[in-house]
Symmetry: C2
Subunit: 145 residues, 2 copies
């Protein structure tokens, strides 16, 4: 019997341990990991799509733990990408400019897409470099001053 | 005439503007970007392989600018990965536990390899998840307390 199958039944029968949806998500994560390993397919799980009891999110994130990589992306608002202690499982927290959460996703992937340079950006890279070089003042300590 | 070809000549003729090696590296970055776009091949440039004049590193990093993504990896020591303002160009700064720099690389790639979950880690992911679930205390607010 796997660790996963041994836990949810006990919890579901336990009225005051309201981690049923958190455990359902972990079950989904487990399947997604198996899919990632066997086919390379990534999975995104919207943690706000299922109702969470109080403390469920904290319980889920504590169970997933903290991995080595933490990234922040400053786009429309701050987004954080935290690798969990489970390789291939990432917690992606989208915020607006006021710091309010817009979305919270688990991504089961080797690298969350938001961290990658997109092809459409890459097409502008050489022109961007040339523009910055043209604007540079070579003798100055700061090239764009 | 490209921006790149217009700048180095002027600088090379200017004795007190000692950014020759920094400009050589930017030339290399430009070629690496073209290679990344045309073939998908990534390039790593060791910034300590060429001698830098005082201020050259600061000049180079200021010219490359700062992009949206900043990541830290806590492994043997802290490593930071800063996207530059040039899409596909990343500055990777490796430090030991004492914070001393071990290496400084420019990576021209859609995503630096150090941020990706490696296949050998992925193989342990399901077992790691099961272990954490087996150790969990479902009724507690902290699952691994």
């Amino acid at each position: 019997m796997s660790g996963l199958s041994s836990i949810p039944v006990r919890v579901a029968a336990d009225g005051d341990a309201c981690h049923g949806n958190a455990l359902a998500i972990l079950h989904e994560v487990r399947h997604a990991l198996e899919r990632l390993i066997s086919t390379g397919e990534a999975t995104r799980i919207d943690l706000h799509a299922l109702p969470f009891g109080a403390g469920d999110e904290a319980w889920l994130t504590a169970l997933l733990g903290t991995g080595e990589v933490l990234a922040t992306i400053e786009a429309l608002g701050p987004t954080s990408v935290q690798e969990t202690a489970i390789p291939g499982v990432w917690l992606v927290d989208y915020r607006n400019a006021e710091g309010q959460r817009l979305a919270l996703h688990l991504e089961v992937t080797c690298i969350p897409g938001i961290l990658r340079t997109q092809c459409r950006e890459l097409d502008t890279a050489v022109a961007t470099l040339d523009t910055r070089l043209s604007a540079a003042t070579p003798g100055d300590s700061h090239p764009l001053s």
